[in-house]
Every structure is written in C-alpha cells, then in structure tokens.
C-alpha cells in the first residue's frame, strides 16, 4: 500500500487505506500518538494544534480530507464550534475526542453533528474503524436522494446512470467493493459551499413546498432553486442538516415559550431571506419610534453609493445584497412592511433609532473595508442618518441595566462619504459593518434593503422564539463622546449605530452559567463584544458558528470573551461590534443590573490583550 503524500484522492481499491484524516488537538502528546496510530492504520494523517489552522487547511484543500478528528477542549476555539463549521461548510464526518465522557458532553457532541465521540485514552481499534463513518456518510447521502426521488431519475450523473446501481448501493452496507464506478467510497461529491445566498434560495424553495409536507424532497427543492450546478445530492444532504437544525430549534423553542420578555411583532417573512432561521422566524422588528429621534433633516449628505466601487473594493468578499425593508417614517411600526430580518430593539427599550448599514463580509483574504465604501453605503438610507457629526452622546435607550457600548475613536469618521478611510483602521480587523435594522417609524423611507450577510448570519441565529435577546451595536462608527455631555434625551441611537436583535439559535437552560452575565467578543479579526446578557456557552457557540459560517469571514475565528455585566462602566475595548444585553437563557430582556466595569474572565485559557481606552473616552451610560 502506497501512502500518498499531498492531497490526492484516495485510491479506490485501497479504501479504507489512504483515508485522509485531519487531526486537531492542542495536546501535543496525543497528537503524536494519534498520528502514529492512524499511520499504522494506513491512513494519511495531517495534524494541527489549532482549530483555526484546521479550518484553514480544510478550506484550502477542499476535498483534501475525508474525515476530521478533533478534541473538544481547545484553546482557540471550542471543539463543538469547529464541529459545526466543518459539518456545514465541508460536510465532512467529524469525530470528537475528549477526556471527559460525561453524558451531557457527549450529547452535545452528537447534537452538533459529531459522527462519534471517543474517550481518551483512545485505542487503536477505535481508530481502525473510523473509515466506517466516511462510508456511512457517503451512502447516506446517496440514499437520501433515492428516498426523495419523485420521479424517474434521469440524471444519475456519476452515480452510474441507472436505477439498478442505485438500488444496489442501497442494499449494500459493507459490500462496497463490489462496485466499480459506482463505488460510494470513490464517489466524490462536489463539496458545495452553502453560502448564505444559496441557503436563502434553499429555504425559499423549502418554504414554498412547505417544510413539513411530504412532498419536500431534494428534487423539488433543486428544481425550485434553479441553481444549475447544484446537484440533488447536495440538496439532499443540506436538507438533512436543515431538518436536524429545525428539530433542534423547535425543541428549544418549546422550552423557551414560557420565557417572558418582550413580545415582538411577528412579521411574516417578506422575502425568503431566512438564512438559517425558520421562515416564520421572529426576528421581528420592533422599532419604537422615539419622539426624540433626531430628524432626518439633519442627515448627513452622503454621496451616492457606488456599488461597483464597493464591489471592486471587496472583490473577494462574499457579499450578498440583502434588503431590509425600511419602515415608513411614521410612528407606527407596520409589521407587514417590515422584513422579518429587520432587527429591532425591544419594545421595552426606549426608542432607538438605528440605521441600516450594509455589512460587508471581509473574506479571509484580509480585505480592508474602506470607510468610503461604508460611507457610500450609508447613502442608501439617507433618512436614517441623523447628523452624527455633532459631538453628541448617544443614548442607548436600553432596558435597564444594559450597557451602552460606545466605541470611541479619536479620529472618528463621520458618516458623510468622501471621508477617506481611516488610517487607524487596522489591517487585521475586518471592518465588517453590521447592518442594523432601522425599523423605526421615524426613520423615513421605505427602501427595501436586503439584509447584509452578517445581519442575516446573526439573525440566522434566530430561533423560533420571537423574543429578541439583545441588541448589537456597531461600534466602529460611533462617535460617542459622553463628555460633551450629554445624555441628551433627544438623542437616541443615531444613524451610525447599528443594532438589532439577536435570538439565540440554540441554548440550553442557564444551568451552566448560573446567574452570570457574559460578554463575548470575537477575536481580533472581528471584534465583537457581547455584553450584558445571560449567555451560555452553547448559544454563543451557536451564534459564533453561524456568524463565522455564514459570514465566511472570520473563518470561525471567534474567540469568546466573557465580560460580566454587573454594573459599572464598560469601556471600549476596541471592539467592532457590541452585542448588548444578551439573554440567551431566558428571554427576559430587561436587565436588572446596571452596567458594570468589565472584568475579564476568560472563558478560554489563552491570553488576550485588551486595549483599554482611557476613561475619558469612555462610554456614556444610560
């Protein structure tokens, strides 16, 4: 048996020998041992110690691996997160490993899609069998297609082109070597990257058929989606995952129904920008219009948005133009007009005006997002832009106890276009702008804007639960200068503030983090601060994985920072976004505690340098 170097396809005759395994573990001793054991199984082994590294490898070499083995506890990223990424992005079987065999952990692994959960110490015989997972997955996908066939399958494509061979495969579980060309083990599915746009189409198609109807099947979905290069197989496997996701959400949605909190107006989806949320999801917007909203009369003049320029700027960016419907500028929120993806602040919040900005995903190729582009984007919503040039302090009318995060930059750029990119924009930070829903009635205009990918991504985090569980603020373009005083009543959240509600996609009861509020921030790539919410790990994980995944951006580089929110002033930590007032475990949005000084308890055991801004650049608190 020849061991192949590089990332060639495994030789059919040799399967399972030559299986290409990626091992991810921060424990060097285990890494070495596993490598040796796998080599003894005649597998092709690649090792890495960081999840980030692993994702990079996986993305670089699409189809370069057959299976991933990962430890659960890793410094840079939770193993479960990695698991979800891999499952969704690359659709590879993932095996989890851990010292901890506690049922709840194992359960979590399974829920997140792990094929198997091995306990350390791992024996050779366990590794010898991992090829079965690869087999099983391939065959399962084939079967899915067959199962949903509504009619004769005309395009068997690489499946041998006849029904008999398909049936044969179905019957065979371990006689794979019988087949030559139709050998599932050699069948290479094109690894489809389910971009947000693609998924959008998928969900739209599914909704059209009706998710629970019997008729929903890959063929129909594929037809509706009308994506020529997509195969039924791709759709089938994606459908399966989607179903799993839905059932998980539903289950959790049920348990969360009792949670009080704000009721948001339920908006029926206007467009199938469902991202990962259910069609009837409740990223409802609630926009309370504040009477003290600064009138559009003060808008910043913004140059016409030159989308071409932006696109050119962000060539490698996977930007999906989203539309978010703007509410008419009246004091009423018109649910019908609002897109379900418009995020809003809770009713209980004092009115906040937000503006919608496009979010551009910076692809992993560090594409620096320019201010100009952003400014140009702002043009699209002129009425959303109050005059933020003034040194006003922004008052986030948050539920009590929520923290207003203000990102103070010494050289804050005003929104008006023509402002050249801020030199302080760091190379490393992806200036992704979060789109915010501006659903305030005051905010005029009725442009329908599509949600940006990140917005969708974040909103995809929505569960069935209509209650919003927090707001996100884009800190990058805020000019909160609370020195100048003032928490002016008449100055609610201004245009550059983007905020919207996020709903947890998945969370478990707050038993794991009793009574603790957490702030979470993304890592240097994309600094997001979660603040003031009751967050448990799985929901952050869910959020992060969804963000990372659909944004395609941080490449899963989401590090969590937990900052307590027990009163005090939160300083600007150099975050790009602040997720404020998050409550995942329960949807009671009113936070009781006053904003607090952040304490940085790191959830992950790795150092992280915060840049703390001096107090005078601090934040204004509501």
């Amino acid at each position: 048996m020849v061991m192949q170097t590089g990332f060639s396809s495994p030789r059919r005759e040799m399967f399972p020998a030559g299986l290409r395994v990626l091992v991810v573990d921060d424990d060097l001793a285990w890494l070495k041992i596993l490598e040796k054991m796998l080599k003894k199984c005649s597998y092709e082994v690649t090792t890495c110690t960081l999840a980030r590294e692993a994702l990079k490898l996986l993305r670089e070499r699409k189809d370069g691996f057959d299976i991933v083995i990962s430890d659960v506890n890793m410094p840079d990223m939770d193993g479960f997160k990695l698991l979800e990424h891999v499952g969704l992005e690359m659709d590879l079987p993932v095996i989890m490993m851990s010292v901890d065999g506690e049922t709840s952990r194992v359960m979590k692994g399974v829920q997140h899609g792990a094929c198997d959960y091995l306990l350390k110490p791992i024996r050779m015989k366990e590794l010898k069998n991992i090829w079965q997972h690869v087999m099983r997955k391939r065959m399962h996908d084939v079967r899915e297609i067959e199962g949903f066939e509504n009619g004769t399958d005309h395009n068997n494509g690489h499946y041998g082109g006849d029904q008999t061979s398909l049936k044969k495969r179905k019957d065979i579980d371990n006689k794979y070597d019988e087949k030559g060309s139709s050998d599932p083990s050699s069948t290479k599915k094109a690894r489809v990257v389910w971009t947000v746009e693609l998924h959008q189409k998928f969900v739209k198609a599914v909704n059209q058929i009706g998710i629970d109807s019997d008729k929903v099947g890959p063929k129909k979905i594929l037809d509706l989606m009308d994506v020529p290069w997509l195969t039924r197989e791709n759709v089938a496997s994606h459908l399966q995952k989607y179903r799993l996701y839905l059932s998980r959400i539903r289950k959790e949605g049920e348990t969360e129904n009792s949670a009080g909190g704000m009721k948001s107006t339920d908006h029926s989806p206007k467009e199938s920008t469902g991202s990962f949320s259910l069609p009837d999801s409740n990223c409802a917007q609630q926009n309370d219009v504040s009477s003290n909203y600064k009138h559009p009369g003060n808008q910043l003049p913004i140059k016409p948005l030159d989308s071409k320029l932006i696109d050119a700027d962000l060539k490698s960016i996977n930007v999906l133009p989203l539309t978010v419907q703007r509410k008419p500028f009246n004091s009423e929120i018109d649910p019908d007009k609002a897109s379900d993806l418009q995020a809003g602040l809770n009713h209980s919040l004092e009115p906040l005006e937000t503006s919608i900005n496009y979010v551009r995903f910076d692809s992993s190729v560090a594409n620096r997002y320019s201010w100009t582009a952003h400014a140009q984007e702002m043009h699209l919503k002129p009425e959303f832009k109050p005059d933020s040039r003034q040194e006003d302090c922004f008052k986030f009318d948050q539920p009590p106890g929520s923290v207003m995060q203000q990102h103070v930059q010494a050289d804050f750029l005003e929104l008006p276009p023509g402002i050249t990119p801020e030199p302080s924009v760091s190379e490393t930070s992806n200036l992704t702008l979060i789109d915010v829903k501006a659903v305030s009635g005051k905010v005029g205009g009725s442009d329908v804007r599509q949600l940006s990918p990140i917005e969708r991504a974040l909103l995809s985090f929505c569960a069935l639960d209509p209650e919003p569980s927090g707001s996100v603020f884009d800190m990058k373009h805020q000019n909160f200068n609370h020195e100048s005083g003032a928490m002016k009543e008449e100055e609610p959240l201004q245009s550059s503030i983007q905020s919207f509600h996020l709903y947890p996609k998945s969370h478990i009861p707050n038993s794991q983090c009793p009574g603790l509020d957490y702030l979470t921030a993304l890592d240097t790539k994309s600094q997001i601060l979660f603040q003031g919410g009751i967050i448990d790990q799985s929901s952050i994980f869910g959020l992060e994985s969804t963000c990372g995944l659909t944004m395609g951006l941080p490449r899963g580089d989401l590090t969590s920072f937990w900052l307590p929110n027990d009163g005090g002033t939160c300083k600007d930590l150099g975050f790009d976004y602040v997720f404020s007032d998050f409550k995942f475990a329960d949807h009671i949005s009113e936070a009781s505690a006053a904003p607090c000084a952040p304490k940085f308890g790191l959830d992950y055991d790795h150092p992280f340098d915060f840049v703390e801004y001096p107090a005078d650049q601090g934040l204004a608190w509501v």
Binding site: I33, K36, V99, K120
Partner: protein, 157 residues
C-alpha cells in the same frame, strides 16, 4: 559479557515496569505506546514521554503560580489546566497522576483553596515519582541498546 548485560537490563526494565503497573503509576496505555514503537520510530515512547514531561511541567508551574497568588480566584482556570493535564496524562498512561488531577479538580470546583494546594502538592509528588521512574526506564533502555549492539564473535561471554 555485555550481551549478558543487555539481557540483564531487559529483565530489570521489565521488573521496573511491572512494579510501576503494580503500583498503579502506569496503566495499559503505556503498553499501547510501546506497541506503537517500531523500526520507523524507534524512540517513539521516549519522544512522547518527553513531550508529556514538557507540557506537564508547564501546567504544574502555572498551577502553582495560580495558587500561590494570594488574589487568585479563577478556579475555572485551574479546572481547565487540570483537564489538560488529565488529557495528556491519559496519553501515556500516567494513572496515578491522573487520579490526583481528578481529586484536584474536585477541590477546585468547590473553590477550596486549601484543598487545591494540598492536591497540587500531591500532584507534584506523583509527577516527580513518575518522571524519575520513567527516566530510569529510558536510561536502562539506552544502556540495553548499547549493550545489545555490541557484537562478539561468540554469543557466550
């Protein structure tokens, strides 16, 4: 003569290993390691064990630093370090070390500082014992290899 020494050394090594097993210092994972060693990686066991030593000492240093710090309060961190320690101890079959880690973790879960300190001391003790014994083992192995490598025209001394 040396040929005999090689055999002697082998016997001594086996005896030492048996003792360590008997004492519960090592478990069968160590045997697995030995089985993985082959011509392509003749020093596999000692390489892995050395990695283990290196990582463990880092962890132990950190743990000690945490507990000696009067203001230390983040027991979660201790827990995480212990998880790591347990994980790597399981890689070479360091059973007793791992067991002490379990007790240590229990103390840290209760935020019991005194308990943690005691557990740390026990841990350090166990670790030192293990390290000494393993080093002894490797030394014997080295000598054995050397001895066995000496060839005599005749097998008998």
């Amino acid at each position: 003569m040396l040929g005999l020494a090689a055999e002697q050394l082998r016997a001594d090594m086996n005896r030492l290993l048996a003792l360590l097993f008997h004492q519960g210092v090592l478990d069968e994972q160590f045997l697995q390691l030995q089985q993985l060693q082959d011509e392509s990686s003749p020093n596999f066991v000692s390489e892995v064990v050395n990695i283990y030593f290196h990582e463990s000492e880092k962890l132990l240093r950190n743990l000690r630093a945490f507990l000696m710090d009067g203001e230390f309060s983040d027991y979660k961190k201790i827990g995480m370090h212990l998880n790591q320690f347990m994980g790597s101890s399981s890689s070479i079959g360091a059973k007793r070390v791992r067991n002490v880690c379990v007790a240590f973790r229990a103390a840290s879960d209760q935020n019991n500082r005194i308990g943690c300190i005691r557990a740390l001391e026990m841990l350090e003790h166990e670790y030192c014992y293990l390290k000494n014994k393993l080093l002894e083992l490797f030394q014997m192995e080295q000598q054995r290899v050397l001895a066995a490598g000496v060839r005599y025209p005749a097998q008998h001394n």
